[in-house]
């Protein structure tokens, strides 16, 4: 019953996509997964209304900030994993969700704006840790990164996070057509076929690696990548710096 919360007040950082991918990957192992759509724009509720979800994956819609704590409590009692997708604003709902989290995933695309908003989320996590004397594991997740190139901005943001002592997921969620297709086609990642998108196997592997790392963090274990696994950068040519 870990509760995994996706937070960043930056709109479009990749919260809903990453949350959906994690839910898909966990449900695919047979686990019971509840996604709480706590974004008033209801992106995942809409997705769930189109997609034919497996029985062990469900999306519930949170009403507003006054209901989120009860929603989390109820979902946690009824499922093995609770995943909370939040709106891209600095709201009380975000505070509430984080207060119950066993892992806070903070998605960041390679822009400084994303990094600034990520820092706000980290500040909130750390303030709560201090105020309530509870460790709240969190980690930055780079999303929509290129398989082939690693831009300078991304590298410098990574460096800043390192210096600030922010944990960063080893896995990056790559920019993948399949990750858009789940929404545009109204399917789970595992229901996609080559008619919906190319490179589905790579997309599956990348998101499962992200899920694996999430679980390791929740369990308080070091991230372990078997030698055969690449760290999300699964497309050659390899890392190159571009201006």
């Amino acid at each position: 019953m870990p509760i995994i919360v996706f937070a960043s007040s930056k709109g479009g950082a990749g919260k809903s996509t990453s949350a959906c991918l994690l839910a898909n990957a966990l449900a695919n192992t047979g686990a019971n997964v509840t996604v709480i759509d706590a974004d008033p724009n209801r992106p995942l509720t809409r997705w769930a209304s189109h997609a034919k979800l497996p029985d062990n994956l469900k999306v519930v819609t949170n009403k507003d900030e006054s209901t989120i704590l009860a929603e989390i409590k109820e979902s946690a009692a009824n499922s093995e994993f609770v995943i909370v997708d939040l709106e891209g604003v600095a709201s009380v709902t975000v505070s509430y969700a984080i207060s119950r989290a066993n892992l806070v995933v903070i998605p960041v695309q390679g822009s400084h704006l994303d990094a600034v908003e990520a820092a706000k989320a980290v500040r909130l996590v750390r303030n709560q840790e201090e105020a309530f004397e509870r460790k709240i594991p969190f980690a930055i997740l780079f999303t929509r990164t290129s398989p082939a190139i690693r831009g300078r901005t991304l590298a410098s943001i990574e460096q800043n996070f390192k210096e600030a002592g922010y944990p960063v997921f080893t896995t990056q969620l790559l920019e993948r057509e399949a990750y858009k297709a789940i929404f545009s086609c109204g399917k789970t990642l595992y229901q996609l076929t080559s008619s919906h998108s190319s490179n589905i196997d790579k997309a599956v592997r990348n998101s499962e690696q992200f899920a694996l790392e999430s679980i390791r963090i929740v369990r308080g274990l070091p991230v372990e990548h078997p030698d055969s696994l690449d760290h999300g950068q699964d497309d050659k040519p390899n890392v190159a710096e571009i201006a």
């Binding site: 007040s9 604003v89 009380v92 303030n127 709560q128 499962e208 929740v218």
Partner: protein, 127 residues
């Protein structure tokens, strides 16, 4: 068979992790009574700018180009009518896709598409 498995070793490792978690290995303690009250959480959040939604104007980065158009804007554009159009799945999906790709409200896509169509066909729409 072993080869087949090795095609996606991550799926197996992930399933294994979930199974271990299920058996309590590293399962986080979840006890709602231990958690801080809503009031306390709210107060800590407000100190770092996480405020009640009712009190924030709908926030949108000015630096970000035309993301989803939010309420106040919608009311001033005159794009407040709805219509039902029968179309194939394919067409509707394409419409969604274009709007998403261009990060435009569907009403805007429709306007631009019509303008393009009028240009292309030269049809006279002024009575």
């Amino acid at each position: 068979m072993a080869d087949e498995k090795r095609l996606n070793p991550i799926a197996d490792i992930l399933a294994n992790e979930v199974e271990e978690l299920r058996h309590g290995k590293g399962q986080p303690q979840f006890d709602n009574d231990d958690f801080p009250s809503a009031d306390k959480v709210k107060a800590v959040g407000e100190r770092v700018g996480f405020v009640s939604r009712d009190s924030v104007a709908v926030k949108q980065d000015e630096t970000q180009e035309a993301v989803e158009v939010r309420k106040p804007y919608r009311w001033t554009t005159g794009r407040n009518r709805t219509t039902t159009i029968r179309a194939s799945d394919e067409t509707i999906n394409l419409f969604d896709k274009v709007a998403t790709k261009l990060k435009l409200q569907k009403g805007v896509v429709l306007e631009r598409a019509l303008a393009a169509f009028i240009r292309e066909t030269g049809v006279d729409v002024d009575d």
